[in-house]
C-alpha cells in the first residue's frame, strides 16, 4: 500500500527526521491561507500515488499566498497518470544547496532491507543506477543486528564531506531505518535529502510503501489508506478479498491462482486480444466471491467477453462449476462468458456448466482463443 508524501512525512517526523512544516489543502482557499501563515514562498505539491508529479505540473513554486492559491486551483482536480488530485501539500520553499537520495527497500537477493544512497538526488534513482552505477552506495541491513551506527555513518559519508553534514545525515539515515521498520514498510525514500546554505540537512520529499502483510498489526498505518486514489473497482476487489488489477483491454479474466492468471492474460495477448484485468479468485468455490468478481469485471465498460480459467486441484471442479452457475444467476450478465475448468471431477463440472447454458472447455488455449474471438468480433 502506498501512502502520500504528507503521510510519509508524518511517519518521518515521528522518527525524528528533520522535515520542514507543511499542511494539506483540499481547496484553493485553504492553500492560500496555509501559505499566508508561512509568510514566505511555498511549494504546492499534488498528493497522488504515482511518480512523475513534477513533470505533469503537479508540483509548483509559489512566491506568495496569492500565487499558491493560483497553483492550487490548477493542481486540485488535475489528472496525473489517471489519478485525480484531491489534496495538495503546502510547505515553505527551502533554499537548496545540494540534493541527495536516500532510500531503503526490501532486497530479494540479500533477503534484507537494503539502503541505496546517492549524492545525485532529485533524480529518478533507477536512472542513476543505469547511467552512473558508481554514484550509488548500497548496504544490506543484517536483520539480526539492524542498522549499526557505523553503517549509517558509512552511508552518510558517501553523500557529504563536511563532518557536520555527515553527522546530521547519519542520524537521519538511522531514523529512516527506524521509521521503515516501525511502519512495516517495503520501501521508503527521501528524494531529495537537501542541504541548505546554512548547513542543515532536511528531507523535503518523502515516499513510503507499506507491506500489505503488515497492515493487520498496524491499524494506525492501515488507516492511512486513501481509497480515493485508486479505481473504485480495485477498492471493491480488495474488500472482497480478491487480487485485482485493472487494465485497458476487452477480455475480462477470472482465474484461480496468480501465476495462472498472468499466464491467461499472456495467452489472451498471444491470440490477438487484450486482457481487461488481472483477477485471482483464489482457491475457493464460494459463489459470493465469484459474484464479486463478476460484478467488478462487468463494471468495466471496455469488457466485451469474460473468460474463466479454473484449475481444480484440491478444490473440486464440480463445486466451482456450481459456484459459477449460482453467481451468474445472481447478477444480470450483458457480455458472453466462456469457461474452462479442468482437474478433479472435470466431467461432472462440464455437465453442470453446459446444462446452465455456458460454453465449457477443458483446454486453456481453446477457451482463450474463443474469448478473444468474442471480444474482438
Amino acid at each position: 500500500m502506498d501512502i502520500h508524501e504528507y503521510q510519509a512525512k508524518e511517519r518521518f517526523l515521528a522518527a525524528g527526521i528533520p522535515v520542514p512544516p507543511g499542511e494539506i489543502a483540499t481547496t484553493p482557499d485553504e492553500a492560500e491561507s496555509i501559505a499566508s501563515k508561512y509568510g514566505g514562498p511555498v511549494m504546492v505539491k499534488a498528493q497522488v500515488h504515482t511518480g512523475g508529479r513534477g513533470k505533469a505540473g503537479g508540483v509548483k513554486y509559489a512566491k506568495d499566498a496569492a500565487e499558491a492559491r493560483e497553483h492550487a486551483t490548477k493542481i486540485l482536480g488535475m489528472d496525473i497518470k489517471g489519478l485525480r488530485v484531491e489534496k495538495v501539500l503546502v510547505t515553505p520553499a527551502e533554499d537548496i544547496d545540494t540534493e541527495a537520495y536516500v532510500g531503503v527497500l526490501i532486497d530479494r537477493s540479500t533477503q534484507s532491507a537494503t539502503f541505496m544512497v546517492s549524492a545525485a538526488g532529485g533524480m529518478d534513482i533507477e536512472q542513476v543506477a543505469e547511467t552512473q552505477p558508481d554514484a550509488i552506495r548500497r548496504l544490506a541491513v543484517d536483520p539480526r543486528y539492524g542498522l549499526l551506527p557505523h553503517q549509517a555513518y558509512w552511508l552518510a559519508n558517501f553523500l557529504y564531506e563536511d563532518p557536520g553534514l555527515v553527522k546530521q545525515a547519519s542520524k537521519a539515515i538511522a531514523q529512516l531505518y527506524r521509521s521503515f521498520v516501525d511502519s512495516g514498510a517495503s520501501m521508503t525514500e527521501i528524494n531529495p535529502l537537501i542541504t541548505t546554505p546554512d548547513g542543515k540537512v532536511k528531507a523535503i520529499d518523502a515516499k513510503m510503501s507499506i507491506d500489505d502483510n503488515e497492515l493487520f498489526r498496524r491499524p494506525e498505518v492501515a488507516a492511512m489508506r486513501d481509497s480515493s486514489s485508486e479505481p473504485p473497482s480495485e477498492t471493491k476487489a480488495r474488500e472482497a478479498g480478491l487480487s485485482y488489477v485493472k487494465l485497458d483491454g476487452s477480455v475480462g479474466c477470472c482465474v484461480n491462482g496468480a501465476g495462472l492468471a498472468m499466464a491467461t492474460m499472456d495467452l489472451v495477448k498471444y491470440y490477438g486480444g487484450e486482457p481487461a484485468n488481472f483477477l485471482d479468485i483464489g482457491g475457493s468455490s464460494n459463489p459470493d466471491k465469484v459474484v464479486s468478481a463478476l460484478e467488478i469485471i462487468t463494471s468495466d465498460p471496455n469488457v466485451r467477453a469474460i473468460l474463466f480459467n479454473i484449475f481444480g486441484g484440491i478444490t473440486r471442479c464440480d463445486d466451482v462449476a456450481n459456484g459459477i452457475v449460482e453467481a451468474t444467476q445472481r447478477i444480470d450478465m450483458k457480455v458472453p462468458i466462456v469457461i474452462r475448468l479442468t482437474g478433479t471431477n472435470e466431467e461432472k463440472a462440464l455437465e453442470i456448466l453446459e446444462d446452465a447454458g455456458f460454453s465449457a472447455y477443458t483446454s486453456m488455449d481453446d477457451v482463450v482463443e474463443k474469448a478473444v474471438q468474442l471480444a474482438n468480433g
Binding site: 532491507a113 501465476g259 498472468m262 499472456d266 498471444y270
Partner: protein, 294 residues
Amino acid sequence: MSIFIDSDTKLVVQGITGRDGSFHTRQMIEYGTQVVAGVTPGKGGQSFDGPDGVEVPIFNSMDRAVAETGANTSVIYVPPAFAGDAILEAADSGVHLVVAITEGVPVLDMARAHAFARDKGVRILGPNCPGLISPGKSKVGILPAQIVAEGPIGVVSRSGTLTYEAVFQLTSVGLGQTTCVGIGGDPLIGTNFIDCLAAFEADPDTTAIVMIGEIGGTDEQDAATYVNAELSKPVVGFIAGQTAPPGRRMGHAGAIISGSAGTAEEKMKAFEDNGIAVAKRPADIVGLIQDALG
C-alpha cells in the same frame, strides 16, 4: 530418487488443528506421507484423527514433537500473524526442512526467519508456496496428488495453479515427475530456483527440468546463468506476466515489475541466452521437454 522429500520424510504439521491444516493433513496422509506429529500450543496430548484410522499425536511445541517422533520435516499452516514465529520454532527444533505454506507473512518477519534458518543450517521452502511432492513417495503441502505421476521430470515453479497446469500436461502424455517444487510467490523465499536446479542436477533419476517463473526480481535471470554454467540436464522454461503492467503487484507479493526491472521479456531473454528452451504458452512445455529428451 527425488529432491528434498522422499519416503524417509517424517512430517510434523504446525497448525494441524486449523481449517487448512486439518484438511491438508488428511490429504497428505491419504497420499502416503508419514505424518508423525502435529503441533498446536495448548492442545498437546490430544490426537488428530486422520483417514484410514491414522491417529497423529499433537504436541504443544516443536521441540517435543521432534524429540518424541523423530520428525525431520515440518509444514506450516498457521495464520500469517504467527507464521514467522512458527518458522523460527521449526528451524530451532532439529528438522532440516521447513515448508511454509502460509500466505501473507510480513516480509520483515521473513527477513529475520531466513537469517535464523541460515544460522541453523535449515532449509525453508516458501513462504506462500504450495509445497512439494515427490510422486509415489511423499507429499508436503497442498499440491493436488491426482495430477502427478512418477517419472523423470523435475518441476520447479514460483506459482501454484500454473504449475498444476504444466504438471497435468506432463502427466497426460506419460511424463511423470521426480519432484514438483513450488518455491513460492513472495519476495523473500528460503529456497530459490538455483537450490532446486542444483538438487535436480544431483538427482540421478531426473533427466529434464521444467522451470516456471514469473515477473519480479532477478531469480530467473540468476538461475539461467547457473543453468548455463552448472547444469548438464536440459531445462525448459516458462515465464508468466508478459502483459503485466509495471509497478502493480500481480497477486503474489513478489510478482511486481519495479521500474524496468524484472520484466518477463528480460527473463525470457536470459533463458534463451543461456540455452534454456522457452515455452511461449504453457501448452508448449510438453513439446519442448519431449524434444529435449529426444
